[in-house]
Amino acid sequence: MATETQNIKDTISTGKVRDMLTGSLSGIIFRIIALGIIDAFAVWFVINLVDNQAWILAVFVSAITLGINAFFLSDKLYAYRWFAPGLTLMILMIVYPTVFTVYAAFTNYRDGNLLTTSQLRDRLEPELYLPEDAATYSWTAFRTTSGEEKFALWLIPSEGVEGEPLLAEQGKLTLASEVDLGDFALDEDGVPEGLPGYERIRRGQAIGVYLPTLSGIKFGEGDDLFQFYPQRPQDFAAKFITRFEFNDDNSILDKSTDTLYKPKEGSYYGPDGEPAPTPITGFYVVTGFDNFQRLIESRAIREPFLRVFIWTISYAFLSVFLTFALGLFLAIVLNADFMPGRAVFRTMLLVPYTLPAFVTVLVWRGLLNEELGVVNKGFESLFGWGPDWFSDPLWAKAGILLIQLWLGFPYMMLICSGALQSIPRDIYSAAEVDGANAFQKFRTLTLPLLLVAVGPLLIASFAFNFNNFTIIEYYFEGGPPIPGGGVAGHTDILITYTYALAFGSGRGADYAFASTISIVIFLLVATITVFNFRFTRSWEEISENV
C-alpha cells in the first residue's frame, strides 16, 4: 500500500501520469476521434488561409494543431493537456497579433495596398471589356421555371456578324444547333418558345422588369462571356473578353488600352510613370524601416506624434498623481478611529469606482457641455464665464483629468486605507518623543512606508492609464484636432492615435503606420514593466512563487 502511494507520488511529480480512467480503450478511441475532428478542421482552415496568402496565420494555426496533437498523444506531455484551450487562445489571439503587428510595421499595409497578390488577382479576374470589333448578337431571355432563379440568353448573330446562334446559360455555352429543345419549336425568328427547365420571358417584360438584373450577369463559360452591349442593352448582347492579364513578375496587362502596368513597392505604374487606373489597386510588400524613418524624419508626422507622446506620459502621470493624492488624503481623513460611520462613508465614496467607465465619461461629457451642461450654467451664473471644456485644448485636458480624478480616487482610497492600517502604530511613538509634528510624521514615516506597499500598484495604474482608450475616445475622440496634425488631436494618447490611424474615418486606413506606433507603445510598456520589477524587486518574489 505504502509503495503504491509512493509510486503514484513519483508518477505525479515527474509528470508521467498514465490516466487511469481515460487510459481505457474507450478513452483512447474518444481521444483519437476528437483529435481527428480537430485535425480535419485545422487542415481545411489552413488550406483556406494559404489560398488567401495569410502565410503567418497559416503557420500559427499549423503549429497550434501540431502542439495539441502532441499534448494528447504523448504521455510525457500529459500536464500540457490541461493548457490546450488556454494556450491555443493565447497563441492565436495574443502572440500571433503581436507578431503580425511587428510584421505590418515593416510593410506598406495601408489604403491602396491592402490586398495580397492573390486577392488582387481574384478581384481583377472577373473584369471584362468590350473590344471595338466585338461581335454583337440580338438576344432573347429565358428564366428557370423552378429552383434557384437563373437566366439564359438565346443569341442570334447580328447582320454581318459571322457565327452561329448560341444558347448562353450562366456558366454554360452551347451551340444553338446542339440544344435539346424538347417539345418546344422555333418561332419565325429562330428563337424557341421555351426550353427544358426554362420559360421564355416576353420581350416587353425582359426590358421593363428584368433589364437591370440581366445587365449584371455574365452569360457563357470560360473566355466566351456575353453581356449586354453597353450603349444599346435592349437590342444587343456582345462577346466580352477578360480585361487583365497577369504575368509571373506580377505585372498586369490592361488589354482594353494595351498598357503594361508594373509594380513598384506594391503599387502599379504605367510605362510613363502614371499610376494605374481603377480597378487596379496595389498589394502590400515589405518596405523595411520606411515607417520608422518617416516617424523620425517627416516633420508633418513627427510633430503631432511628439505632442501625442508627451500628452500620453503627462496624462498617465497626472492621473495617477491626482487620484493618489486625493485617495490618500481621504484615506487618512477616514483612518482616524474616532470617526463614526467610517465604513459607510468608505462604501459611499466607492460608488464612482463601481460605474462602468464608459457610462461615467458619457455622463460627464453631457454635464460639461459648453453651452447647455449644468457645470457651465453654474459657472455662467456665478462668474459670467465658463470654461471651453471641449474646444480649448487645455480645458479639454483639464476635463479629462477631472473625470479621471472622479472615477479613480476611490480605488486609491481603497488601497491606501489597506496600506495605512498595516503600518504598525508603535513606530510613531519614537518620532513623538523626538517632538515631530503631524506633517513630519507623515512625510518621514507614513509616506515612505505607504509607497513601498502601494508602489507597484501605482506603476500598474500608470501602465493602465497609458492605454486608457475608453476615457480619451469617449470624452472627445481625441479632439480638438491639432491643425496640420493629420488625424492627431490635442487630447489623443498613443492608443487612440493608433486607433484613429487605422480606423478613423475620412483619411483611409493606415495599418502599417498604426502598427509602427503600436510597437512604440510596446517598448514603452515593456520599459515601465522592467522598471516596475527592478524598482520593487517583485520579480524575485514572482519567481519564488513559481
Partner: protein, 296 residues
C-alpha cells in the same frame, strides 16, 4: 447637555479631538458632494420628462418615468438588445475564462513538468501587454477568420469572445494557482487510490473547493468585458450585435441635447450590473483588485 459641551471646551485635548472630528466630517462631506454630483444630476435627468440637456434642473418640473419607457420601447435604439448582448458576452467570457484558467491552474499546482517555470513566467508576462495594443492586428485577424468562418468573424459574438478569451491565461491563473496550492494534496491522493482519474479529481473534488477564487476571477472578468470599449467598438459594427458600451455612446454622440433624458435613463440601467456586483462583493473583491500585481 450644557455641562458636556462646557467640559469639551474646557478640556484642550478633547477640544482638539472635536475640531479634528468636525474638520474630517466636513472634508468627507465635500468628497461625497464631488462623488455624488454627477450621479444626482443624471438621476434627475432620467426622470425629467422634458428630456433635454438644456431644460435640465436639479428638481425636475415634471417628473416621471417617460424616459425609461421611451428607452425600452423605441426600436431605433435597441437598448434592451445592447444590454442583453453585453450581459451575454460578459457572462460567457467570464464562465469560459474561469474554466480555461482553472484547468491551467490545476496543472500548474499539481504537476511538475519540464517547461513549467518558463510557462508560468510567460503567462505572467504576457498579460502585461493588454490586447488593445495589438487592436489593428486583432481586427485583421478576426476579419481573416471571418472570411472562412463567419461565426467567428467581425460582427459576431464568436469573434468578440475569441478576443476576450485570448487573455484567459494571465494574472488570474496565478491567483487561482495560489489558491489551488492551499488545497491539501492528500485529498487528491485518497481519491486517486479509489480509482479516480485526474479529470474526476479536478472536476468533482478540487473545483467545488476553490469556488471562492473562481468567483473572484469570474466577477473580475465579467466587469472587464462589460466595460470593454476598444474591442467591441472595433469588432461589433451592426446595431443589433453591439454591446451597451458601444450602442449607448453612439446614440448619445449625435444629439447630446435632445436625447439627454433617455440617455440618462440608459446610463443608470446600464450601470446597475457592475454597481450591484462590486458593492455586494466588495470585501470579497478587494483582495483580488488590490493585490493583483505581486502576489502569486
Amino acid at each position: 447637555m450644557f455641562s458636556a459641551a462646557a467640559n469639551i471646551l474646557s478640556n484642550p485635548a478633547k477640544r482638539k479631538r472635536w475640531t479634528g472630528y468636525f474638520t474630517r466630517l466636513f472634508i468627507v462631506f465635500l468628497a461625497l458632494l464631488f462623488a455624488f454630483f454627477p450621479l444626482v444630476w443624471v438621476i434627475s435627468a432620467s426622470v425629467n420628462e422634458t428630456g433635454t440637456l438644456n431644460t435640465q434642473r436639479l428638481i425636475p418640473r415634471q417628473a416621471g418615468f417617460e424616459n425609461y419607457e421611451e428607452l425600452l420601447t423605441n426600436n431605433v435604439r435597441p437598448f434592451d438588445r445592447w444590454m442583453l448582448n453585453s450581459i451575454f458576452l460578459s457572462s460567457v467570457a467570464s464562465i469560459l475564462s474561469v474554466i480555461i484558467g482553472a484547468l491551467a491552474a490545476y496543472s500548474f499546482s499539481r504537476f511538475r513538468f519540464t517547461g513549467r517555470r518558463g510557462l508560468m513566467l510567460t503567462v505572467f508576462l504576457i498579460q502585461v501587454f493588454p490586447n488593445s495594443l495589438t487592436i489593428v492586428a486583432t481586427f485583421l485577424l478576426i476579419q481573416e477568420i471571418g472570411t472562412h468562418i463567419p461565426e467567428l468573424g467581425l460582427n459576431s459574438y464568436g469573434g468578440a469572445l475569441l478576443v476576450y478569451l485570448g487573455g484567459a491565461l494571465g494574472i488570474n491563473t496565478w491567483l487561482m494557482k495560489g489558491f489551488f496550492d492551499s488545497i491539501p494534496r492528500d485529498l487528491d491522493e485518497s481519491a486517486r487510490i479509489d480509482g479516480a482519474s485526474d479529470w474526476l479529481i479536478f472536476w468533482r473534488i478540487i473545483f467545488p473547493l476553490v469556488r471562492p477564487v473562481l468567483a473572484v476571477v469570474g466577477i473580475l472578468t465579467f466587469i472587464g468585458v462589460y466595460g470593454d470599449v476598444i474591442i467591441a467598438l472595433t469588432l461589433l459594427k451592426d446595431k443589433e450585435i453591439q454591446t451597451l458600451a458601444v450602442g449607448l455612446a453612439r446614440f448619445i454622440r449625435d444629439n447630446f441635447n435632445q436625447e439627454w433624458g433617455v440617455f440618462s435613463a440608459g446610463a443608470i440601467l446600464g450601470a446597475i450590473p457592475t454597481v450591484v456586483i462590486i458593492l455586494t462583493f466588495q470585501r470579497f473583491l478587494v483582495g483580488g483588485l488590490t493585490e493583483g500585481a505581486v502576489k502569486g
